[in-house]
Amino acid sequence: MADPFLSIQHVRKSFGATTVVEDFNLDVEPGEFVSFLGPSGCGKTTVLRMVAGFEEPSAGKIVVAGKDITRLKPNQRNVGMVFQAYALFPNLTVAQNIGFGLKVAGMPRADIDARVAEMLGIIKLPQMADRYPYQLSGGQQQRIALARAIAPKPKLLLLDEPLSALDAKVRVSLREEIRSIQKKLGITTIFVTHDQEEALSISDRIAVMYGGKAEQVGTPFEIYNRPATKFVANFVGTLNVLEGTVTDAASGTVRVNSQEVALKGKLNGSKSGDTLSLALRPEAISLGRQPGRDSSLSGEISEVHFLGSVIRVRVGIGGNTVSLDTFNNSATPPPAVGEKAEISFSSGDMLVLH
């Protein structure tokens, strides 16, 4: 296997007595788009800032293209970065902002102009060259910030929650644009976000972070469908968590509210009598018995929310509540609160959390 382009090795960061990043490890392949996903305070921005050079690791090292950059100053790293607060220079025009890094690098004026024009074309704002940042919308400013970051052809692009300050519609279109530009240029990118939808939709891989550690690193499909820890399962997507007791470890049978579910050997070493947390995604559950679904649980409908195209139903199963969505069907009235209901699912979709 080829060496990774970016390698973060056993990195730790402490501020006084507080450790915000603990033994963080990650290898990123050339051209890969990796997202750091996690709640506020999980250390994702600190790791990004260490890669940028704004924070120095307390331990560990950071290697880019085979070169140890751990102690290099930010202006010696050839890394591009987009900030949450845009950080465009208010006194410079759009063209001057984009050309800033090129001018600092001593590029001839004609080359700077050509590169700025190329960048404005890439971000589809060719007519904005002479505007000042205050004359642009938030989305436009962030696109200029992206153009400014990639203009000097950095080895690595760092995006620190670049979409958080934008409204929902712009956020969706801009994230697609960022991904498309990243793919076109083939630039290795680290994207920090607390928005799971953003991370799932544009990443090659996601590092889900919690408490200064990477809880799981995997593709969006793996993170969503095979969460490695309870935190990842809860943080990414909506999840129904059921408490169950192992009744027969050998056959993989679990009891949930006095009903048995066969998990077919997914108990990961649990013994009979152990209590387990079992998780089911809402889309893996159907109301009523459905063909192809080998497991079922009975309960009582506790809530029904009519949302137009879908109906969100909550079913109480003993002390557990399971949430699921069903499509609205004009021929069938929605279920009523208090009705007895049976939910069905494939035992293969049920996850055992650790």
Binding site: F54, M81, Y86, F100, Y132, R148, A149
Partner: protein, 263 residues
């Protein structure tokens, strides 16, 4: 409501009268040099006086160097405190306020003792050295105004993010301060510069005790020996100060509009 408005106008009129009546009286008096008619004779005499031109020119030059020195000291200091040492801000603010508390006469006597011809740093042994000491003293007198103006300017921009954005694009400290920070606080720096100018033009104590041919001692000298010319000089000095203040207002309209969100 109406009565409130009435009293507001009364207070305004009283304030305006307090400000304008002495000014008008001074203008009126300064124009009575020629018997029986108003004239600008006093102004002509003052403006034609070679000592006026020499002392005013000296003070303008001193103000120019004071501003340069003040900017060189205050801008990097205020920037660094905002960026890296915010915990030192109260201490630095206190230090910058000291010139308002310690009388100039105390400072200048301190200078004379510290930098006399027999001291290891004999600033006062030469004219050039004394001029330099005067400029240093003026920079210190203007410190409360310059520091506050620059610090207020820095508050309007996201210093940390702009610095980091410039750093990651390859900029060193000189480029960051010269191309990113200074242009964005230029109006604040100019405000501080004009306040410094106004202070230096009218300053008497330091210039007099250091025996420098500045405008302040000239004003005092003319005031002690003439009748109408001091009034004309007072009006000229007032016009210069007011002109400086107006320039601050005009220039502030050209301040770069910040597109960055504050911290």
């Amino acid at each position: 409501m109406k009565s409130g408005k009435f009293w507001a106008w009364v207070v305004f009129a009283l304030g305006a009268a307090y400000f304008f009546i002495p000014l008008i009286a001074t203008v009126e008096f300064s124009m009575r040099m020629r018997r029986g008619a108003y004239s600008f004779d006093a102004y002509q005499i003052v403006l034609g006086d070679p000592r006026f031109q020499a002392t005013f020119g000296y003070s303008v030059l001193a103000a120019f160097f004071t501003i340069i020195l003040g900017v060189l000291i205050v801008v990097p200091a205020a920037y660094w405190i905002r960026l890296r040492l915010p915990q030192l801000r109260p201490i630095v603010e206190f230090i910058t306020l000291l010139p308002l508390v310690i009388p100039a006469i105390v400072i200048v006597f301190g200078y004379i003792r510290m930098y006399g011809s027999n001291s290891p740093l004999p600033f006062l042994a030469t004219d050039m050295g004394t001029n330099a000491l005067l400029v240093i003293g003026y920079a210190m007198l203007a410190l409360p105004y310059m520091y506050r103006a620059v610090d207020t300017g820095l508050r309007t921009i996201d210093v940390r993010t702009l610095t980091e954005a410039a750093q990651i694009l390859g900029a060193g400290w000189g480029t960051i301060i010269g191309r990113v920070i200074l242009p964005n606080v230029l109006i604040a720096v100019l405000s501080g510069a004009f306040l410094t100018f106004a202070i230096v033009i009218g300053e008497f104590t330091m210039a007099s005790l250091l025996n420098r041919p500045a405008f302040g001692p000239y004003l005092q000298n003319v005031g002690a020996n003439r009748a109408y010319e001091p009034a004309a000089l007072a009006i000229i000095a007032f016009a210069i100060t007011w002109g400086c203040m107006s320039l601050i207002q005009i220039l502030s309209r050209f301040a770069p509009k910040s597109a960055n969100r504050p911290n």
